[in-house]
């Protein structure tokens, strides 16, 4: 029977992996290759082109097979990324163009690569006709090192550096740096899979009860009660149920999920399995940022090993339960961290968010009930199931239980990943990391990422709990704590944040598509001291742009695209100094 109709259309979810397959081999999505994929998957070529051209890591025009992505986002900017890019442009020519020294290579600027603890950072990707592309994260780079990465032929791949992890309480991070992340045996010896066994014993209701007692809330930014989400999915009669681990960590300044995935990948698998049991999910997707090649490869190995060891697949852990995980790689789109955009991305559509309602617990991936949790949220579940919800809730504050990971970066003495109980004072956390680097004076702290807000030195007494942050109009967001010392160019940072949202807007709704452009233009005018009308008029207009994006955008990206900028302008004399 000819493959057509519904059966053929069901192949659409293979589109993104297929596009990766092309890009991995030849470095771009050529018309011929795209047509071939379309023919095989029965996807209309225009649709597939719409998807391919949506992602920053794909090129739909000829591009050199080796490409160096140089981060020029906020954390790296504080570490001199702008100057670095200017040097590269002088030595290597304009971005995207083949290098004069080597036609098979090019460089480009990149949004945050999630290596803010080792800023400035870069990511080298070399396509391979054999299908084994090289992806090499490079930290603390300078021009000579980048030139070497691009131009020298046979050099040993750089050993991935390990992140600095610290804190006052190590629960989520307890195995980091202490086990071989590629060894399931090591993981078991360190207590791995005991929580899963207990989860199978106590069953879905038991798991949800413990998570409820623990008062665990989502660590992705929205702080939604995890148990309520799981219970809602567990109750839905429609089948199948899906579980998605959202590992598309892209908030500028954030690297916490990457560290867990790279250093403790089996924990992600175990936690996903427990969540799947709770929600009655037959199938799981692990959606990892395209810029995280090391995390992807370690997670894939972990999935394979866990399956071989009977921890995934039919009859997990000797029980009659069935659950398996498929990994999906993102391709350079911040918006795909938004849960409904992520569904579309997995389904082979453009990563455009969906209108809510309906909510994912009712209609999520492929229109079915779906649990979406980020890596850090899931990682907490292991502890909760192993030690009980009550023990978990005893840490932190009554409203914000447990510990939280914070990504310290920028002008801080010891950048890295810090775990502290929720409710810890920001000042304490800064002190733990050695304070402002070089003994300089603190100018500001960006809390929560580009979608978060700037705090003044007077506000660093804030307790880092959900309610504590809310009380001062801030958010913990993704746990970014980016320190700006007195020398930092705050105006430049704001302009970069505005550019980030303009670049990452999916373009679907008018408030965000045009609002992010108008916001960026306006900031440039303020920065250059060339307002249209008075500066006050410009401030009013900026506030209105912020309001319409917040009020009328489809998703959280547009709704928060002005929050950090507005917080800075309301608290600091940003552009008046220029």
């Amino acid at each position: 029977m000819a493959v057509g109709g519904d059966q053929a259309r069901a192949q659409r979810h293979r589109l993104l992996p297929a596009l990766h397959g092309l890009s991995d081999r030849i470095g771009w999505i050529s018309p011929g290759a795209l047509n071939y994929v379309c023919e095989r998957l029965r996807v209309p070529p225009a649709d597939a082109y719409g998807v391919a051209s949506f992602y920053a890591l794909f090129s739909t025009t000829p591009r050199a097979p080796q490409i160096l992505h140089v981060c020029d986002d906020i954390a790296c900017r504080l570490a001199g990324a702008e100057e670095l890019c200017a040097q590269l442009e002088q030595k290597l020519g304009p971005p995207h163009e083949p290098l004069p020294q080597q036609q098979s290579a090019c460089w480009t600027r990149s949004p945050c690569l999630g290596m803010c603890d080792r800023a400035p950072a870069a990511l080298f990707i070399a396509a391979d006709p054999g299908g084994s592309p090289r992806g090499e994260p490079l930290g603390e780079v300078d021009r000579p090192r980048l030139e070497q990465a691009l131009l020298s032929e046979d050099r040993p791949p750089a050993q991935p550096a390990r992140a600095t992890v610290a804190g006052t309480q190590r629960t989520l991070l307890r195995r980091i740096g202490k086990i071989d992340p590629e060894s399931i045996g090591d993981y078991r010896k360190a207590g791995g899979f005991t929580a899963l066994r207990r989860a199978i014993e106590i069953g879905p209701a038991g798991i949800i009860h413990e998570v409820d007692v623990a008062k665990l809330t989502g660590r992705g930014g929205a702080a939604f009660p995890t148990a309520r989400k799981w219970e809602a999915v567990a109750r839905e009669p429609a089948r199948p149920h899906y579980l998605i681990c959202n590992a598309d960590e892209s908030e500028p300044g954030t690297f916490k999920d990457r560290v867990i995935m790279e250093e403790d990948p089996f924990a992600v698998i175990e936690a996903m399995t427990i969540a799947a049991i709770a929600g009655g999910c037959e199938r799981g997707y692990l959606y990892v940022r395209g810029e995280y090649p090391l995390a992807s490869s370690r997670l894939q190995k972990a999935i394979d090993e866990a399956r071989a060891a009977g921890m995934l697949g039919d009859g997990i852990c000797g029980s009659p339960l069935r659950f398996d995980i498929e990994m999906r790689r993102g391709a350079g789109a911040y918006i795909c961290g938004e849960e409904t955009a992520l569904f579309n991305s997995i389904e082979g559509l453009r990563g455009e968010p969906r209108n809510k309602p309906p909510f994912p617990v009712r209609k999520g991936l492929f229109g079915k009930p779906t649990i979406v949790n980020n890596v850090e949220t899931l990682a907490n579940v292991i502890e909760i199931v192993a030690k009980g919800g009550e023990a978990f809730a005893s840490v932190g504050t009554p409203g914000s239980t447990g510990t939280k990971l914070f990504c310290l970066c920028g002008h801080i003495a010891r950048p890295g990943l810090y775990e502290v109980p929720l409710g810890t004072m920001l000042a304490e956390l800064l002190a733990l990391a050695g304070g402002v680097r070089g003994g300089k004076r603190l100018q500001a702290v960006l809390l929560g990422g580009a979608a978060g807000s700037f705090l003044t030195p007077a506000e660093i007494g804030v307790p880092l709990s959900f309610e504590g942050a809310r009380a001062i109009g801030a958010t913990l967001g993704s746990g970014v704590v980016m320190v700006l010392d007195e020398t930092a160019d705050l105006g430049g940072i704001l302009v970069r944040i505005a550019a980030f949202f303009r670049d990452e807007s999916c373009g679907q709704c008018v408030p965000c598509r045009v609002g992010t452009v108008r916001q960026e233009e306006l900031l440039h005018r303020l920065r250059r001291g060339r307002p249209l009308g008075s500066a006050t008029q410009e401030r009013d207009l900026l506030a209105q742009i912020g309001q319409v994006m917040r009020d009328a955008s489809i998703c959280g990206l547009g709704q928060t695209a002005s929050s950090a900028i507005e917080s800075a302008l309301s608290k600091f004399e940003v552009f008046n100094r220029a």
Binding site: M1, A2, G4, G5, D6, Q7, A8, R42
Partner: protein, 493 residues
């Protein structure tokens, strides 16, 4: 999707059955065999509403999966799957176009489909039924209005004295009590010298009839040929008198009837050019010259008279047609909303009117048999952007149009050593044309496709005037042809 060619529609279908040209009955009967074998027939419906099931059932014995596959070229498991899916669906309908009806056994092809619907109770219910998709905007209306040899308007039998008397009273004229001639029968009558004058309205038979050489000869031999058309067509060029007509859809008032039996209003939005006139005016003037004064009725007056004579149109006033955006017949009075579907009576208890008959039919291969001399099966049809003989559609610039071509499978292009665009001679037992080759991967080896949209390639020189005895339609869908390379092929871009 059943089509010898893998068309764009086939590419999107859940299942495509690429059968051999002219094996439709074998496919239908094979499906019916499978349905009965699995006990999926609708026993209550058959019992309640049909007659002739036992003979039908007996006629299917030989259409085993192996036989059906051998006859159609469609794998047995696919025939089985589609048969089961059709039988088990709550609602399913069968739609067809000329692939069923342009065969020498056209009516039998239709019977085979009707049998399937009766077998599974897929008639007389919303979402079910049998739908011939019409190729012209008023081919349905033409038949409804009596432009058909055996019916007066509203499908009223011309041999029924009472019905005829009703029309004679209204028209003040006598109507011959015998059925008229079909187009193919007219041609035969011309050939016998019995038909000497022909009045052609809005048709281009020189181009659209099968076996064009013969059609051309016969049209030229008519003593008096009148053509009434909006164009000076190739047929009009042969005529003794040409009556220029207004374009029915935008230069005259009136109605047309679509495939779904919907009577719809067309309106005069422009004045016709030059001496062109409304068909209605022309007909009335001719009547006057012939001695009958029909007056100068408006389209609406003609329609209102029709409503008094054709019960199924009685409720369709112009006002209602406009307010309801058309009405579907039957519509018996001005309160009647029209019928979304037909034959609901078959589900009534007891059945109102006659029960639906099964007609046992047997597979018959196309008349123009393949041979070593003529090894290629040519099937003809239409392309999306063009329309029949092309006189209308040829006057706009379509980016999709690339002229006539002899479409063949890539394997055949290789076998005959011909390239895309290369002019070749295509010959049938009736004549030859030269035409450029187009390689179409949607065709299988041994199958070729052409249209008759283009004046420069007289495709119907190739086709066979093998007519269905019941409908008079020629077997446009199956000719046997051969392909020959030209001595010095001219490349056409």
């Amino acid at each position: 999707m059943v089509d010898p060619r893998r068309t764009a529609t086939a590419a999107w279908a859940d299942t495509w059955l690429g059968l051999d040209v002219g094996s439709d009955i074998a496919l239908s009967n094979g499906m019916a065999h499978e349905i009965l074998e699995r006990g999926l027939e609708h026993r209550e419906f058959i019992e309640h509403a049909t007659i002739g099931f036992a003979e039908y059932r007996a006629s299917l014995d030989s259409y085993t999966p192996q036989v059906a596959t051998r006859m159609t070229g469609v794998p047995a498991n696919v025939i089985g799957e589609v048969a089961r899916a059709y039988a088990q669906a709550d609602k399913a309908l069968i739609c067809w176009t000329l692939g069923i009806t342009e065969h020498h056994n056209a009516v039998d092809n239709v019977f085979a489909l009707i049998n399937l619907a009766l077998l599974t109770g897929k008639v007389g219910r919303y979402g079910c039924g049998l739908n011939p998709l019409r190729g012209q905007n008023n081919v349905q209306g033409g038949g409804d209005m009596g432009a058909i040899p055996h019916h007066l308007p509203g499908f009223q039998d011309i041999t029924d004295d009472a019905l005829r008397a009703k029309f004679e009273r209204a028209w003040g004229a006598s109507i011959p009590a015998k059925r008229g001639l079909r187009l193919n029968e007219m041609f035969e009558a011309i050939e016998r010298g019995e038909l000497r004058a022909l009045y052609v309205i809005g048709e281009n038979p020189l181009v659209s009839e099968a076996d064009r050489n013969r059609a051309s000869h016969l049209l030229a031999s008519v003593e008096h040929l009148v053509v009434q058309d909006i164009f000076l067509t190739q047929t009009a060029e042969l005529a003794d008198v040409v009556l220029p007509a207004a374009a029915g859809w935008c230069e005259t008032e009136g109605t047309v009837t679509s495939s779904e039996r919907r009577v719809q209003r067309v309106r005069k939005l422009l004045d016709p050019p030059g001496e062109a006139r409304d068909d209605l005016e022309i007909v009335c003037d001719i009547a006057r010259r012939l001695g009958t004064d029909l007056g100068r009725p408006s389209a609406q007056q003609v329609w209102d008279e029709l409503r008094t004579l054709s019960p199924m149109h009685a409720g369709m006033s112009y006002a209602r047609l406009e307010a309801c955006s058309g009405l579907q017949w039957p519509c018996y009075d001005e309160q009647h909303p029209g019928e979304l579907f037909l034959h609901a009576r078959l589900w009534e208890d007891p059945v109102r009117g006659p029960k639906a008959p099964f007609h046992a039919v047997e597979q018959e291969d196309p008349v123009d048999t393949l041979s070593d001399e003529y090894p290629i099966r040519l099937t003809t049809g239409r392309r999306l952007d063009s329309f029949n003989s092309g006189v209308q559609s040829g006057l706009y610039s379509s980016p999709l149009r690339r002229g006539e071509s002899f479409d063949i499978a890539p394997e055949d292009a290789e076998r005959y050593g011909v390239a895309e665009g290369e002019r070749v001679r295509v010959s049938s037992r009736r004549g030859s044309v030269t035409v450029p080759v187009h390689v179409d991967p949607g065709l299988r080896p041994g199958l070729a496709f052409m249209t008759f949209h283009f004046d420069d390639v007289a495709t119907n020189v190739l086709t066979i005037e093998a007519n269905d005895p019941k409908s008079g339609t020629a077997e446009f869908k199956a000719s046997a042809v051969r392909l020959e390379k030209l001595e010095s092929p001219m490349q056409v871009s």
